[in-house]
């Protein structure tokens, strides 16, 4: 069984984003970039499914040339092969989903595992869009995955609790935080990953139009909260709460 895992290179989650003074976006020059945390969980899950009939894991990234570092990380974790679709221009989720659809048509994976959202654009769309374009089942926000030869049963995190669904394969899963704890790549595996195959493509190779439909007019910092005060003790806090009408 073949599994495909799309991964995205994003601003490292520990870095506080700085909005550019000219309002055109967030400053990404000389800041630490990493694999989107949800995508690490997706890669990890694919690797764990290797004991359950998965024979090959193909990782895919769409973005600037440097995204190959992200793919190497996935290969070092245990993926077998990588495809990089180079686009120096931003590709939005609909374009990414269409490119992935074209790659799926060539690769014919049985299961595609994505992160539930990328922590830069916070869209939470790509997996669902790909499922819609392919006309296959989708299980979003997965916290547990059980794979059989022709179906996958997924427990999903939903508002208020959890929900379980069964999908026939091929299918799409998007993963939530609590699905697993991603492994660190060991040094020997990082060395080994350098010789694993990585195909390089462009959107044009797949004949997909990735012209953005949405234009960002400006990006600003959110309104700052005015500085608060430290209260000396519980009595003072109770007095504040009473003044707000929260306590009687």
């Amino acid at each position: 069984m073949k599994v495909m895992v799309p991964v995205k290179r994003v601003l490292d989650y520990n870095v506080k984003p700085r909005v550019k003074a000219d309002g055109t976006g967030v400053d990404l020059a000389n800041v630490k970039m990493s694999m989107n945390p949800f995508d690490e969980i997706a890669v990890e899950e694919a690797i764990r499914l290797k004991d359950k009939g998965v024979t090959e894991i193909v990782v895919v990234s769409i973005g600037e040339q440097k995204s190959q570092e992200t793919l190497r990380t996935a290969l070092a974790m245990g993926a077998d092969r990588a495809i990089l679709v180079v686009s120096e221009d931003r590709v939005e989720p609909l374009g990414v989903a269409k490119l992935l659809q074209a790659i799926v048509a060539e690769e014919k994976p049985d299961l595609i595992i994505l992160g539930k959202q990328a922590i830069d654009d916070d869209n939470n769309q790509t997996g669902q869009m790909l499922a819609g374009l392919m006309g296959v089942g989708q299980a979003t926000f997965a916290s547990k995955v059980e794979l059989t030869a022709d179906s996958v049963t997924v427990t999903r995190e939903v508002d208020g609790g959890s929900e379980t669904e069964t999908l026939t394969l091929p299918a799409i899963i998007t993963v939530d935080l609590r699905l697993n704890e991603p492994r660190y790549a060991s040094l020997p595996n990082i060395m080994k990953a350098k010789s694993k195959p990585m195909a390089q493509k462009t959107p044009g190779d797949y004949g997909v139009d990735v012209t953005p439909r949405v234009t960002t007019l400006k990006v600003v910092e959110p309104a700052k909260r005015s500085a608060g005060v430290k209260v000396a003790d519980v009595d003072e806090l109770v007095a504040k709460l009473k003044a707000m009408g929260v306590a009687k």
């Binding site: 989650y13 499922a131 819609g132 935080l177 005060v229 806090l237």
Partner: protein, 309 residues
């Protein structure tokens, strides 16, 4: 513009999340609703009373009972022939369904909007709420999810929508519902609570979380939330999580107990009207956003606070 709003419900009543979406939709034009489910006549009747609502489309079919995206997305895509925009709340249901609809219509979705600037221009948070983007779509049909805390709730009375049954699209045969575990709680729902008391890793254990947080929440009539660290450590269930990957809340008062204030947590609560932080580390980042901060041992301070309220 004619907008179609996804009505979030539990099979019996309309959920609050729907009301903010109606307000957002009314800023775009005519508001129509979609109630999809099984045995939802009661929900439709309730939905028709929401102020400012036109037609309430009702799709009653076993295939829609659990709002599986594979079954409801084609239904919505079909209805979009006569609507200009589809709006859903940014709940797990809305986030699950809307992008699939967008793909079927070949349009880009706008996620989690904070405001409607014009018919095609919206603001939305990016980078865990550390930046606000103003975006403009070129797509003729709009698919949008709405952040519930960013819009006032429409009144639940005063409307006189007409209820109309729509042709159902049946079961796509791609997925099946197995079961669910929904936590029962007497407390106010997190996303609509006026006051929230949230606990972090510093609580130390499941038992201490309940012993410290619950009495204070009860005293204040508050909902209970948690940081990711507390959820990961098993002190609180997943659906308590407030943050970028959990729930986004904006109550009148948010009390953060033993929460350091990581970027990802702040993303979920920094629009609260008043933030109160109780933490023993006076350099914790939470104090940079807190209106009132109390430095000290939460195991002493919180019971004392509960006692004195």
């Amino acid at each position: 513009m004619k907008t179609l709003v996804w009505v979030e419900h539990d099979g019996a009543t309309v959920k609050d999340a729907t009301l903010a979406v109606v307000t957002a939709a009314s800023q775009l034009g005519e508001v129509h609703l979609l109630v999809a489910g099984q045995g939802v006549a009661g929900v439709a009747a309730e939905a028709a009373k929401i102020a400012g609502v036109g037609t309430v489309h009702v799709a009653d079919d076993a295939a829609y009972a659990h709002a599986l995206a594979e079954n409801v997305a084609p239904l919505i895509a079909g209805l979009m022939a006569t609507h200009d925009a589809f709006l859903a709340p940014a709940t797990t249901n809305g986030k699950n369904i809307a992008p699939r609809v967008a793909a079927l219509l070949d349009v880009m979705q706008i996620s989690d909007i904070l405001s409607v600037e014009s018919e095609d221009t919206f603001t939305r948070p990016i980078y865990a709420g550390n930046a606000i983007a103003t975006v403009q779509t070129k797509d003729a049909k709009k698919v949008i999810t709405v952040r519930g805390t960013a819009f006032a709730k429409a009144a639940t009375e005063g409307g006189s929508g007409t209820i109309e049954a729509v042709a159902t699209t049946g079961d796509a045969g791609l997925s099946s519902y197995v079961g669910s575990e929904i936590a029962k709680s007497e407390r106010p729902e997190l996303t609509s609570a006026k006051i929230i008391v949230s606990g972090g890793r510093a609580l130390g254990s499941d038992a201490q979380f309940h012993a410290i947080i619950d009495p204070l929440a009860d005293k204040l009539g508050a909902g209970v939330g948690a940081s990711r660290a507390a959820v990961d450590a098993g002190y609180a269930p997943n659906d308590y999580q407030v943050g970028q990957t959990g729930k986004i809340v904006a109550p009148e008062v948010y009390v953060a107990v033993g929460i350091s204030g990581a970027i990802q947590h702040l993303a979920g609560m920094k629009d609260s009207k008043v933030i109160i932080a109780i933490n023993k580390d006076e350099d914790a980042p939470i104090f940079q956003v807190a209106d009132y901060g109390l430095v000290g041992d939460l195991f002493k301070l919180v019971p004392e606070l509960t006692e004195k309220l």
